[in-house]
């Protein structure tokens, strides 16, 4: 398919970009295709009569152009700034220094800076690298585990998000909006846990069965909206939202049933998964990172292969780009819709099994799935609905989560700030025109900043 925006490289005036965005929004059918092959359109030099600019010139041009990378980075910056403002206005002590800002501005600036910089430093130390732990290791005060602990936490939080992010992204590419990753992960977590403590199997096989049970659970929960969409035309957004809650209530009911509930407990918690069904830890027992992250990378590769190299992936993208054209070309749209949702369900179900077979939890509780399904939507959007992009986005979100924990315990900044940051990042990413306007960015060479692909009800 040709580039729907022939004038994309044209003058970077505001109206031009508006029209462009408009065209993108209207040409729903073409948008998926734009997302599919952006790299090619960039890599292809095209017949340019003028002499090629130097590499450095190109780099500088692109640095301040509204391309994917710049917009993502600036969205992050904007989110961090808004987060800082929230921190300041919610701290009565710091806020009080602003009452006399005209007479002694240094007070306000200093106290704000201390508050914000400490919080964000803890966010960084908790998720990536803590210099104190490193010097402690050099001095022999602590082991190497302490140095890797932040990374380990980040990877632990990222693993399930990769799966749910892939689930949402895969459905997006097929033109469906899977809001049901939460519900699919919930059923996945149930099945994985049941297989984990009910089946007496040898190690290895037990783990495999438990992981597959999780995938099966997700597949079932994805199949329902898929078949309803294909057979009755029922909108998947509505159905997946509803199924999320059905799954949640089913989980809360199941936990307290005989044979599932921990016999030694009166509160809502199930028996623990057998150790033979738990994902092995990668760096010893002190660090929480487990084999789930390896599975996540494998899944990313598999989804990338499925989308870009397989017949099914081609059909899926074709249906996502234009169902009518796909049908004319002989692709069964109904079959593809069902398959998309089943695959999306499998991925989300795997994310669910990660939550109970990994080191996050080993028993079912009402909140065992946390928010991975909803976070998966954000991850998919941030990753521009591309498999490897989703992996990176999940790592970022995992880092925010891990760092947020440290920020909460060291700086007393509520973990909710992380939710705010995540939501803000995605809001800015979803509206590149806004970021572009705020930072006065140049228009991008390829118009590929629209991430949203879903249609109305």
């Amino acid at each position: 398919m040709t580039n729907p925006n022939p004038q994309s490289g044209s003058p970077d005036k505001e109206p031009a970009s508006e029209a462009q965005a408009a065209q993108n929004a209207l040409g729903n059918t073409e948008r998926a295709e734009v997302a599919t092959e952006p790299d090619r359109s960039v890599a292809k030099p095209g017949p340019e009569p003028e002499p090629k600019p130097s590499l450095g010139r190109l780099f500088l041009d692109n640095l301040w152009a509204a391309n994917t990378f710049t917009v993502t980075l600036l969205s992050l910056v904007l989110a961090i700034v808004v987060g800082a403002v929230l921190m300041i206005i919610s701290d009565p002590d710091v806020l009080s220094t602003y009452s006399y800002i005209t007479s002694r501005p240094s007070d306000a600036i200093n106290s704000s800076w201390t508050l914000v910089s400490e919080a964000y430093a803890n966010l960084f130390k908790g998720s990536i690298f803590d210099p104190e732990a490193f010097s402690g290791w050099l001095n022999g005060a602590n082991g190497w585990q302490a140095v890797l602990a932040p990374i380990s936490e980040t990877l632990t939080y990222a693993a399930p998000l990769v799966f749910t992010g892939l689930s949402v992204a895969l459905a997006f590419r097929g033109g469906l909006f899977n809001i049901g990753a939460q519900g699919q992960a919930t059923i996945g977590v149930i099945m994985a846990a049941l297989a984990g403590f009910l089946l007496p199997l040898p190690p290895g096989l037990h783990l495999l069965v438990a992981v597959l049970a999780g995938a099966l659970g997700g597949a079932i929960w994805g199949f329902i909206p898929g078949i309803l969409k294909a057979r009755a035309g029922a909108h998947e957004v509505i159905n997946t939202i509803m199924l999320n809650y059905v799954a949640t209530y089913f989980l809360t009911w199941l936990i307290v049933q005989n044979g599932v509930q921990d016999p030694n407990r009166t509160d809502a918690i199930s028996k623990a998964v057998d150790s033979s069904a738990q994902l092995p830890r990668l760096l010893g027992d002190n660090l929480r990172v487990h084999a789930g992250i390896l599975l996540a990378v494998l899944a990313t590769w598999a989804v990338a292969w499925l989308l870009n190299r397989s017949t099914l992936g081609f059909e899926l993208r074709a249906v996502g780009a234009n169902p009518d054209a796909a049908r004319t070309a002989g692709i069964s749209v109904t079959r593809t819709y069902i398959l998309i949702m089943v695959f999306a369900g499998i991925l989300a179900g795997l994310g669910g099994s990660n939550m109970v077979l990994g080191s996050t939890a080993s028993a079912l509780t009402p909140l065992v799935v946390a928010q991975i399904g909803f976070d998966g939507i954000l991850v998919a959007l941030l990753g521009r609905v591309k498999p490897w992009g989703v992996l990176l986005a999940a790592l970022l979100f995992g880092a925010l989560q891990a760092g947020g924990n440290r920020m909460q315990s060291y700086s007393g900044i509520s973990l909710e700030l992380v939710t705010v940051l995540q939501a803000l990042i995605v809001i800015f990413i979803a509206a590149p025109a806004l970021v572009k306007a705020i930072f006065q960015l140049r228009a991008a060479r390829a118009a590929r900043l629209q991430t949203s692909l879903a249609k109305g009800w």
């Binding site: 965005a21 408009a22 993108n24 929004a25 209207l26 929230l86 919610s90 033109g175 909006f177 809001i179 309803l228 969409k229 294909a230 057979r231 009755a232 035309g233 029922a234 909108h235 957004v237 509505i238 159905n239 939202i241 509803m242 199924l243 809650y245 059905v246 209530y249 089913f250 809360t252 009911w253 169902p323 049908r327 749209v333 109904t334 909803f374 939507i377 954000l378 959007l381 509520s414 909710e416 700030l417 939710t419 705010v420 940051l421 995540q422 939501a423 803000l424 995605v426 809001i427 979803a430 509206a431 025109a433 806004l434 629209q450 991430t451 949203s452 692909l453 249609k455 109305g456 009800w457």
Partner: protein, 426 residues
């Protein structure tokens, strides 16, 4: 229903052949009736099932023997199903269906009430009705917010966020100012703030509306949760002790048996909610504003051609929706509870379900919200009498009902044609 319906398969052959929708529904009703007459009848006990017309066991009551009641109402359901199966005039379809469903519920109640532990074989109707309305209240406001938004063509998945923000700012500013009215206005502004974001991003920046709604919900959860921990938890007396609206008794109406004490001794939000349903219904179908709103939601290009300012109508409606939902959020914090983290807890999504189940119609949304509220209240009641029915399954009911409705099994629902599609003036 869907903009992406798949035309290559028959979409439920609705009006073809013998099996019309009415007959299918009739068959389902017949099966339900058989189930209730046989199963509920067998499980019910010989205790009297008492439906008292008061708050407790005392006072006059409607009584019926449990087994007889369960079977009797089951037979009524069977009769209704049989009538639909035999074929009734189209205008009789809904009333007959209604009678069948109500009888089914009554049969179920006869079984449950008679099988309750001895001494608890009564159902206080005043309590149940009042609880139904209280639980339905945020759903009514939320669904009305959805109606306002979606009728003008903007999908509103952010109802949850609007309710939450309304509840939060109502509690915060109500506490700081010490005035319920300031709280109420602040709540409306809080809801409108989320709406403003939705409107700007959906209308100006053409962000996908479902995506925006989901993200705004998370943003609202994050911002209110963050400020709750920072402000309200540290100094609850100052920031989280909003004054509450006292109950207003309406003269005359409050003396109606059952309904009087249940409905007309409530707080301002109940009256406001019911009034809003009426106002929005009349406004939508009887005024110029309503015609414009609907035309913008169904066919913006045509509306634009006729001189309607499409984007302005959408902005206004989305903001109004935020105001309505914000007040709905305040019905929690300015009447019932103090603010807690994520206190809406999915009610916004049930409101969305009520909106869809009510077919994007204010009155329909009210009925759907009441049905969902009743299911919720029933779950509480059954929990109190140690019923064998798990409350979680009753809690699933709204969601399952919506799935059935959307799948076309209970009658087709159709969204406004331009719902979710940004309009670009050409």
């Amino acid at each position: 229903m869907s903009t992406m319906a798949v035309p290559d398969i028959a979409v439920a052959p609705v009006d073809e052949g013998f099996w019309t929708r009415s007959r299918k529904v009739g068959l389902t009703l017949l099966a339900l009736g058989l189930l209730s007459a046989v199963l509920f009848g067998a499980l019910a006990t010989d205790q009297q099932a008492r439906f008292t017309l008061s708050d407790d066991a005392a006072g006059t009551a409607l009584e019926i023997n449990g087994t007889i009641g369960a079977i009797l109402f089951g037979i009524i359901t069977i009769a209704a199903g049989a009538a639909l199966l035999a074929g009734v005039p189209k205008r009789w379809f809904l009333p007959v269906l209604g009678v069948g469903l109500v009888a089914f519920v009554l049969s179920f109640l006869c079984w449950q009430v008679s099988a309750a532990p001895t001494g608890q074989n009564f159902m206080p109707l005043v309590n149940i009705i009042r609880g139904t309305f209280i639980l339905a209240l945020p759903l009514i406001f939320g669904a009305l917010a959805g109606v306002l938004c979606e009728r003008s063509g903007v999908v509103n998945v952010a109802i949850e966020g609007q309710l939450l923000m309304g509840a939060f700012s109502g509690a915060l500013f109500g506490s700081i100012s010490g005035s319920v009215w300031v709280g109420l206005v602040a709540a409306a502004i809080g809801g409108a703030f989320i709406s403003l974001l939705l409107a700007v991003f959906a209308i100006r920046y053409l962000v996908d509306q479902v995506v925006m709604g989901i993200v705004l919900n998370l943003l609202a959860v994050g911002v209110t949760g963050f400020l709750y921990e920072r402000l309200m938890q540290t100094d609850a007396a100052k920031y989280n002790s909003a004054p509450r609206f006292s109950n207003w008794e309406i003269p005359l109406l409050k003396d109606i048996p059952v309904l009087g004490p249940a409905l007309f001794r409530g707080n301002i939000f109940l009256y406001l909610g019911l009034l809003l349903v009426l106002v929005i219904h009349i406004g939508l179908f009887r005024t110029r504003w309503g015609l414009r709103t609907r035309s913008v939601g169904e066919h913006p290009i045509a509306a634009d051609t006729l001189g309607v300012k499409v984007l302005r109508v959408r902005y206004r409606n989305v903001l109004l929706a935020g105001v309505v939902a914000g007040i709905g959020g305040a019905s929690y914090t300015l009447a019932l509870y103090s603010f807690t983290k994520n206190m809406i807890g999915g009610k916004g999504f049930i409101a969305l379900a009520a909106l869809i189940f009510g077919r994007w119609n204010p009155t329909g949304a009210l009925l759907a919200a009441l049905f969902f509220g009743f299911a919720d209240q029933l779950a509480t009641y059954l929990g109190a009498i140690n019923s064998v029915i798990p409350s979680q399954f009753l809690a699933m009911l709204p969601y399952l009902a919506t799935i059935l409705a959307v799948a076309g099994l209970v009658g087709r629902v159709r969204a406004p044609a331009a719902d979710g599609k940004p309009y670009i003036k050409g």
